[in-house]
């Protein structure tokens, strides 16, 4: 049973990971292994001609990590995409919840009644269902509100992009501390193009921001992919630090000074603040120069940590954990 006291706003997670963490908390599962890949960095232009307007940054945690969640954290997820949502799905949601297994919902923000963001459409959001009445689902959204909300089940089925059926399979899986070393390394080093992407990102910020970034609408800002992306990077770094702490607990030696990744997340947060400030101030050049200076510092600091992890990768495994 989910108690009201269990609800909490996961303000340091994106909505997808907030849903995962909510379910993990409910089943009392440790999912920190899932966030070992959160030191990633991706930057893509969807269209070269549009440059920053369509830039995209993301940390690596997402659906790719679901097999890891199943095999080493005990959280099994069966995803039903839109095309599979038929008339039987409503009963399936109720059956799942009746059996103590919450259901996750992927849905566009525009259909979410408790959406308190200035952004009201065209962004995927996630929340979970923990119960139901005759016509309504009892939904928990620890990303937006940290509260329960009632939402008509028919409407959920109508508007959902996909449904996540969760199961606690903690009894059938390996412990996270038994995760093979190769799996941990694979999670840690999943973005070999980091330098290339970071340089491209810094270059694009310096070349195009002054020309394209002239927004004064909150909705436009909330839609800004760069701000959204940097927010994800901040979350990712915080959770990567927690995952590093987990490696320490497992007996790995990670030669990274305590809190250094948190410092990096704060610098990313500062960059985000300055970047938003660009939209509101007249003297954009001064702010932009500070953004660029911080980006160069971040690039250096993150490269340093990546080098440590790479150079020490063969020495990380120690003591009680055997080679896989």
């Amino acid at each position: 049973m989910l108690l009201k006291s269990d609800l909490k706003k996961h303000s340091k997670l994106n909505c997808h990971d907030s849903m995962i963490q909510t379910i993990a908390d409910y089943f009392a599962l440790d999912v920190r292994l899932y966030f070992l890949d959160a030191f990633g960095f991706e930057y893509r232009r969807r269209n070269d001609n549009q440059a920053l307007e369509s830039a995209y940054i993301w940390h690596k945690s997402g659906e790719k990590g679901h097999s890891l969640l199943r095999d080493y954290c005990g959280l099994n997820i069966d995803i039903f995409k839109r095309s599979l949502l038929n008339s039987l799905i409503m009963q399936q949601i109720k059956d799942s919840i009746y059996n103590g297994n919450p259901v996750g919902v992927e849905m566009d923000l525009q259909y979410i009644p408790w959406n308190n963001l200035s952004l009201h459409e065209y962004r995927t959001h996630y929340f979970s269902i923990f119960g139901y009445t005759e016509n309504n689902a009892v939904c928990v959204d620890n990303y937006l509100t940290g509260q329960m909300h009632y939402y008509n089940i028919d409407s959920i089925v109508k508007h959902a992009n996909s449904l996540y059926f969760f199961k606690n399979e903690n009894q059938n899986v390996h412990k996270a501390s038994d995760a093979p070393f190769s799996l941990i390394l694979n999670q840690l080093y999943s973005d070999p193009k980091y330098h290339q992407m970071m340089q491209l990102f810094i270059n694009d910020i310096s070349q195009t921001t002054l020309h394209t970034y002239d927004k004064d609408s909150l909705v436009e800002l909330a839609n800004d992919e760069i701000i959204y992306g940097i927010t994800n990077i901040v979350w990712g770094r915080i959770h990567f630090q927690q995952s590093l702490d987990m490696l320490f607990e497992f007996g790995y030696r990670v030669p990274i000074s305590e809190g250094s990744v948190i410092d990096i997340s704060e610098t990313w947060d500062k960059i985000k603040g300055l970047y938003i400030k660009l939209a509101y101030v007249k003297d954009k050049t001064s702010i932009l120069n500070r953004v660029l200076a911080l980006l160069h510092i971040i690039h250096e600091q993150e490269s340093h940590i990546r080098n440590i992890l790479t150079n020490n990768s063969m020495n990380l495994k120690i003591d009680t954990i055997l080679n896989d």
């Binding site: 706003k9 303000s11 308190n116 963001l117 200035s118 909150l218 800002l221 909330a222 701000i227 927010t231 704060e266 947060d269 500062k270 985000k272 603040g273 300055l274 938003i276 400030k277 509101y280 101030v281 500070r290 911080l294």
Partner: protein
Amino acid sequence: MGIEQYLISSPQKYSEIQQKAFEVIIANLSEKVSDNVSLDMDFNSIGLNSITFIKTIVALECEFDFEFDDEMLLITKFPTVKSMVEYVESKTTTNFENA
């Protein structure tokens, strides 16, 4: 509860700068919450997100003619409305002394 009502329940006096800073912050909140804000509330609970937080900062900078240190552009640096009001006053006083 606005600053006037807050004053009733608090023996502490608030300076003109603090009151003005409070007004600027309130003016940048949504109408839904602006009538129910007190100095000891945190910014998340009064609906300030990262964008409206920075917008509020820029409004305070324009009103008081100083610039927030870059280190203070993090919402976590201001646990309560009061802490931001006090920061504005400290910066404004510093500016005045340096003038």
